[in-house]
């Protein structure tokens, strides 16, 4: 993936007319309904190739639902998505090959070691055998987990798991990296370390970065462009400065509050959250 120039990509997908050199992600009139609830309400936006794009919004605004649709985990109710020339509804594998994802919730196998988690990922994403070991070592050294590579993930703290997930998401050198609140629970050292590495790959390989966060200063510092979503609709897009000047705000945080209001949002616990709590009880009893 890493050395592909746009021409190579075009050659691979010359049957599809969806290719757009400037925009790697194109979303138009995307809607997702859960019964009566409209989680994502007719949104459209583009992300340019190589851009670092922040997707911001209060809890329950539709961020995660949008990311799930972009990453082939959910079927849109209507609307169109094109990612790296592929459509996540009809060409799931095409999209999946282009993506690296760090989820908001943990997605590691806790009963496997660090190395085993990385190897599993390498096999699934068809990372060539000859570069596999070297790349795993390099990434684990970067997230400072190389010394713990033989340890079970279940012995790790939240921050360590997050670091491992980030290393894993980068293992196959994705064209687009999705980061759903990647820095949640990380200390400032790790957070800075992570962003400088992501930015480095972003520059070196023209990797597009699509991320969500609740830290406004982070979005301000890292993102080239920002979209703000609320109640399922995109209410503003632009650079941080554009958003600030449009709302006459000093900081991005103020701009965000001006756009989305000060009301605190409630998010209902999903059945998955309940299950997770139950699982903790269950596992506690088993061990």
């Amino acid at each position: 993936m890493r050395t592909e120039t746009p021409d190579v990509i075009e050659k691979e997908t010359n049957l599809s007319l969806n290719i757009d050199h400037a925009n790697i992600i194109m979303v138009s009139n995307l809607v997702k309904k859960f019964g009566e609830l409209v989680a994502v309400d007719d949104i459209s936006f583009e992300v340019k190739r190589g851009e670092t794009f922040a997707f911001l919004g209060p809890n329950g605004a539709g961020k995660s639902t949008t990311i799930k649709m972009l990453t082939t985990l959910l079927h849109p109710t209507s609307g169109k998505i094109i990612l790296n020339g592929h459509d996540p509804v009809h060409d799931k594998d095409g999209v999946r090959k282009s993506l690296g994802i760090v989820f908001q919730d943990p997605s590691l196998d806790e009963d496997l070691t660090v190395l085993e988690n990385m190897q599993f990922h390498a096999v699934c994403y068809n990372v060539r055998k000859d570069i596999r070991a070297k790349r795993i070592e390099e990434l684990l050294k970067f997230v400072e987990l190389w010394d713990r590579r033989e340890d079970m993930v279940k012995t790790f703290s939240g921050g360590m798991k997050r670091r491992l997930e980030i290393a894993r998401g980068l293992l196959h050198h994705p064209t687009i990296l999705f980061l759903d609140e990647p820095t949640l629970g990380l200390d400032p050292q790790t957070r800075n370390h992570m962003w400088s590495y992501v930015k480095e790959i972003n520059k070196k390989e023209n990797m597009t970065v699509f991320f969500t966060t609740h830290y406004m200063e982070e979005a301000d510092r890292v993102a080239d462009r920002i979209a703000i979503i609320d109640h399922g609709k995109i209410i503003a897009t632009g650079t941080s400065n554009e958003l600030k000047s449009r709302t006459n705000s000093e900081t991005l945080e103020d701009a965000f509050l001006n756009l989305t209001g000060h009301k605190i949002r409630e998010e209902e616990a999903s059945s998955l959250d309940r299950l997770r709590r139950m699982g903790q009880l269950w596992r506690g009893r088993r061990r």
Binding site: T71, L73, L108, V123
Partner: protein, 249 residues
């Protein structure tokens, strides 16, 4: 291919690592062997039916296979709960490969468990009559393992959480075991029970395994046993992959 292998390997590694689980799951078959095997042994003999341990052991081997297989399938719910399922769901590999790898892994684990219990039955006095039929016995065990792992995965794919777990144990796994003829001979059983047993897939497994070990004791014949098991396994693999493909994480 490599995806099937890595899914299989993951399943097998996790099994051999959880030693406490392996030992724990030997408790139940051991209890059945001791309590039923020795408890009913003398009555069984007095009824002129022969050695009960000989009759019981194949059923107990398959009991442990049944439980391990169903649990390995239902394991999928924990994968979903701890988020690992999402990692596999966004990977550019076919759902079918993931599902087959997991099924094969679960079936392997259940087969190993069956072999351990088989060794245990030897220790409490079970004696297979002909050793050269052991490969056929192993085939039966593996088919039963495959069948019930697929069933477990099919069930887990449609379950949101563990709420339905007790339901499955009490209304599916337990009846499947108790009505399979693992504990008592179906010959001379009331008609209704006989009909239910004929509908129970495990009945054919028990029958086939008993035949492999003891030669004389078969109700349906080996050909029927294998046909039923193979057809059902293929069907359940189909059902399992259908539901698995529809999971939206």
């Amino acid at each position: 291919m490599s995806v099937i292998y890595i899914m299989w390997l993951r399943q097998v590694k996790k099994y051999f690592r959880s030693r406490s689980r392996i030992i724990g799951s030997l408790g139940q078959p051991l209890l059945f062997l001791l309590a039923f095997g020795f408890g009913f042994g003398s009555i069984y003999k007095r009824a002129g039916a022969g050695n009960y341990m000989q009759f019981l052991a194949p059923g107990i081997v398959l009991m442990s296979v049944l439980f391990t297989a169903i649990f390995s399938g239902i394991d999928l719910i924990w994968d979903r709960q701890f988020g690992f399922l999402k990692e596999t769901m966004v990977a550019p590999v076919s759902r079918l490969q993931i599902m087959f790898g997991k099924t094969l892994g679960g079936a392997t684990v259940a087969t190993v468990q069956g072999i351990i219990v088989f060794v245990m039955t030897l220790l409490v006095g079970f004696r297979p009559q002909n050793l050269y039929m052991l490969p056929a016995g192993l085939m039966v065990v593996f088919l039963v393992a495959l069948l019930f792992t697929s069933l477990g995965i099919a069930l887990a794919s449609t379950m949101e959480d563990m709420q339905g777990f007790q339901l499955i144990i009490n209304f599916l796994v337990m009846p499947t075991f108790f009505l399979s003829g693992a504990l008592f001979p179906l010959e001379g059983a009331p008609k209704a029970l006989d009909i239910v047993a004929t509908l129970d897939p495990l009945t054919y497994g028990v029958d086939g395994l008993r035949y492999s070990f003891l030669y004389s004791a078969t109700t349906f014949g080996m050909a029927t046993d294998f046909t039923v098991l193979i057809v059902l396994t293929v069907a359940l693999l189909g059902v399992g992959s259908y539901f698995f493909e529809r999971i939206q994480a």
